[in-house]
């Protein structure tokens, strides 16, 4: 069971890392293909 929990924790850590890392790089469609003048938020 330890391996299963470790696998899930590793997955979560990579996913959280990817979220912050990619947003830091400004990869999202919103950041790349849109601007303030065409968004309501």
């Amino acid at each position: 069971m330890k391996a299963i929990f470790t696998g899930i924790v590793v997955m979560a850590l990579i996913a959280v890392g990817a979220y912050y890392g990619l947003h830091e790089l400004g990869y999202s469609s919103q950041a790349r293909f849109s601007g303030d003048n065409v968004r309501l938020d």
Binding site: I4, M11, A15
Partner: protein, 412 residues
């Protein structure tokens, strides 16, 4: 004593070769006479749709748009600037509208890049209808059908049990790092599968019952999870490939394993190394299909930055594959949006196939086979189980243990 064969096997092999050659080398079908008549008629209209075209379309027949697509005027045809139509520059208003309609116009935009240059993209409707129709229908039935077949198989065959008594002695089947990598891959695949299905099917199956708001919430979370957990899947895929590729190279023992259906059907237990032929099929399915899903997924994660299909189609055309089956070459000039649509369709189709395979893998690793889960749970399997399912591997482990017993420390 001579060992004579009837030659029937060779006859069958030869027949199969001829059959494949006949399919590959079949001549292209002759042009449709109705389409030829329409092409002839268009010569009289200077390329404009004819009455035949309009009637054919009204009858629900497919009328090729190719002749309209190329009929967009040309600077070479322009009248002299001093003459009456000189300022049109060789393209009439209908020519211009056709160019916009078929994404052939030379558009210049101040923002948005190449994507914004496509003003009309008629492939979008085809993609949408495919996504809402056959993709959901056949994909959904593939998964439900797989579960149904496994349920029937379980009712008929029951659990594959270990013959005789368990020995109580165990051997280490997978090390901790192998199991952790497997579970990272497994957990991420399940999350990606569930969130992918919610994204694809939520509008059709959840919104009508739980409301658009609930569906929107699920979609928001699904997108967040899908886009980020994808990285765990891709990394784990690479790790698993590096760890196990050596054990998954096909060899002679696989033929015996397939002949005896791996002991799953019937009660024979073919010898196997660390991975038997069935596990090798799973491994290569995960690597190849998972790799393909990853590539199309990256194309979707970085919209318009990683177009894959025009290049792939060009390679397929160069080999001549469409011609083997009498088809025209695949399109190699795709709008950026078409690239994304194809990436989504491919991503989902391959994912459905891999999900069906993995449902089978989960079945045999849990309910379908006694003792199988321990291999990935605790990592320790009973020797009786190992002997039954991986006898060659067990012998190798035993031989290694004789040379260096477990827990032994090297001499100082």
């Amino acid at each position: 004593m001579t060992n004579r064969t009837s030659g029937f096997g060779w006859f069958l092999a030869l027949f199969a070769v001829f059959l494949v050659a006949a399919v590959i080398l079949q001549p292209a079908p002759p042009p449709d006479p109705a389409e030829m008549a329409r092409i002839e008629a268009r010569l009289a209209t200077g390329g404009a749709p004819t009455l035949e075209d309009i009637l054919a379309r009204q009858n629900g027949e497919t009328v090729s748009n190719d002749y309209r697509k190329i009929n967009i005027g040309s600077p070479e045809q322009a009248a002299a600037m001093s003459s009456q139509l000189g300022t049109l520059g060789g393209a009439s208003d209908p020519d211009l509208w056709r160019a916009l309609r078929f994404d052939e116009a030379d558009i210049r935009v101040s923002a948005g890049g190449d994507v914004a240059k496509t003003l009309v993209q008629d492939g979008g409707m085809t993609w949408y209808e495919f996504r809402e129709g056959p993709l959901i229908t056949y994909g959904g039935w593939l998964l439900l059908g797989t579960i149904a077949v496994l349920a029937i198989f379980y009712l008929i065959r029951g659990r594959v049990r270990v013959d005789g008594e368990m020995t109580g002695r165990t051997v280490e089947r997978f090390q901790f790092v192998e199991r952790a990598a497997h579970w990272t891959l497994a957990a991420s695949f399940i999350l990606l599968g569930v969130t992918g299905l919610l994204t694809l099917m939520g509008r059709k199956f959840i919104a009508p019952h739980l409301g658009l708001e609930t569906n929107a919430l699920l979609l928001t979370w699904s997108k967040l999870i899908h886009n980020n957990v994808a990285w765990a899947f891709m990394l784990a895929l690479v790790v698993v490939f590096v760890m196990w590729v050596w054990h998954n190279i096909p060899d002679r023992t696989d033929i015996v394993w397939f002949k005896q259906a791996g002991g799953i059907i019937g009660h024979e237990h073919p010898p196997a190394k660390k991975f038997n032929a069935g596990q090798k099929v799973i491994f290569w399915s995960v690597i190849l299909l998972g790799g393909s899903i990853s590539l199309s997924g990256l194309s979707l994660l970085f919209p318009f930055d990683m177009p894959l299909f025009a290049k792939t189609f060009a390679i397929i055309n160069d080999i001549g594959v469409p011609g083997w089956f009498g088809y025209d070459p695949l399109p190699v000039s795709l709008a950026p949006q078409e690239e994304m649509q194809l990436a989504q369709a491919w991503h989902a189709i391959v994912a459905f196939v891999l999900m069906a395979i993995i449902i089978g893998h989960i079945y045999i690793g849990t309910l379908g086979m006694e003792g199988a889960f321990d291999a990935m749970g605790s990592g320790e399997v009973d020797e009786a189980w190992a002997h039954q399912h991986h006898s060659i591997w067990l012998d190798e482990v035993k031989a290694r243990e004789k040379e260096a017993p477990r827990g032994a420390t090297p001499a100082e």
